[in-house]
């Protein structure tokens, strides 16, 4: 993956909902997908519920740590994390934590629209400063981190996540389109369904 030479400013600005649909279509049923706060998980929801989807509510910045925990608990299953740039900025230290553990099954997809879209589109400090978050990930000890040049490059990078050992980071520059849906905010149900999907809970109750 480190062969990619796409730089942040050369990456095509793509549509989040369309990319998440592409991801879901490509990875099949087995991997877990952790959707970070707000629009990151809204577009995961809008792409169609999967048994191994988890949609965060609050706890901004914890999508990567949650994904790390899932990856450590089930090392043979691929885990994809969808995390926003503003969210990652709140918890940059998690990149070092991931790098220290080197979970081979973890892939972090950085959804970078440069703004806090859900609160009105204010630009992030990283956007104002020109911070390259993929470069930050590499410097944190995650060498398999790359910006996706365009949709075809994204497909190639996702295939690498599926076929090779990680941890991987894919940076995605996004347009400012709104999300394609809104997740049902029922955390206990979301957690229950995810645990069943992960084989971590058995229940005689339907669902």
């Amino acid at each position: 993956m480190s062969a990619s030479v796409t730089t942040a400013h050369n990456a095509k600005r793509m549509n989040r909902a369309a990319l998440v649909r592409r991801l879901v279509a490509r990875i099949g049923e087995d991997p877990a997908v952790i959707g970070g706060i707000g629009h990151s998980n809204f577009d995961l929801w809008a792409a169609g519920h999967r048994a191994r989807n988890f949609y965060m509510l609050g706890s901004m910045g914890l999508a990567v740590p949650i994904g790390l925990g899932v990856a450590l608990a089930q090392p043979r299953r691929k885990v994809f994390v969808l995390e926003g740039d503003g969210s990652l900025l709140m918890q940059l230290g998690c990149l070092s934590t991931v790098a220290a553990q080197r979970p081979a099954n973890l892939a972090i997809l950085l959804l970078d629209n440069g703004t806090y879209q859900i609160t009105g589109g204010q630009r992030t400090p990283a956007e104002l400063a020109g911070t390259d978050l993929v470069a930050v990930a590499r410097a944190a000890g995650l060498p398999q981190a790359a910006w996706a040049a365009d949709e075809a490059d994204f497909d190639r990078l996702v295939a690498q996540c599926l076929d090779t050992e990680g941890p991987h980071v894919i940076g995605l520059k996004l347009d400012d389109a709104p999300p394609a849906g809104q997740t049902e905010r029922d955390p206990a149900q979301i957690r229950d369904r995810f645990m069943r999907g992960m084989g971590a809970k058995r229940s005689g109750l339907p669902g």
């Binding site: 740590p65 450590l72 918890q91």
Partner: protein, 176 residues
């Protein structure tokens, strides 16, 4: 479970964690917790890792629980004080038995005024979030309180917090 009166508190904790299949230990370092952290690192039963922030440790535990692995977060009082939002919106809202063990600073001989002040926020935060918590002061009660707290957390799908008093651990005192 804690046979032998001389068994130190951290060995009791290790035994009870193992007996309850708590395998993941995520910590932010603390001097009082050092022997427990070292004991976890030394025992291959545990997956033991340092997190950069206590919030991260809670996220890691919650992810691991949902994928079938029990865990506990180790921290000190000041670290707990960073957690109100994530406790409310992750383990409380999602009904996840996130286990926390807090080495208590700020009381019984504290020398840092910041620690003394932040200590006063800890139990009110736990109470206002409705999180079960116990302060462990005696070695002969340590195993029982921890064991029963883990069982209750798991069966009621609720977070729980064990506070390790300086009465148990000796705490941290200013060196003359």
């Amino acid at each position: 479970m804690n046979e032998g009166a001389a068994q130190p508190w951290h060995e009791i904790v290790l035994e009870v964690l193992k007996a309850n299949e708590v395998r993941l230990v995520a910590y932010v370092p603390d001097n009082v917790l050092k022997p427990l952290i070292s004991g976890c690192h030394a025992d291959p039963f545990f997956t033991t890792l340092a997190a950069a922030r206590e919030e991260e440790a809670i996220g890691i535990l919650c992810g691991a629980w949902m994928a079938g692995m029990r865990g506990i977060a180790l921290m000190q009082t000041s670290g707990f004080a960073t957690l109100a939002n994530v406790l409310a919106s992750l383990p409380c809202a999602f009904q996840i038995p996130a286990l926390m063990m807090v080495s208590e600073r700020g009381t019984l001989g504290e020398f840092n005024i910041g620690q003394a002040m932040v200590n006063r926020t800890m139990r009110p935060v736990l109470d206002s979030l409705g999180i079960e918590h116990h302060t462990i002061t005696r070695r002969d009660e340590c195993g029982f309180i921890l064991d029963r707290s883990i069982r209750q957390a798991v069966t009621t799908q609720a977070p729980a917090c064990l506070i390790l008093s300086p009465l148990l651990t000796g705490g941290k005192v200013l060196k003359a």
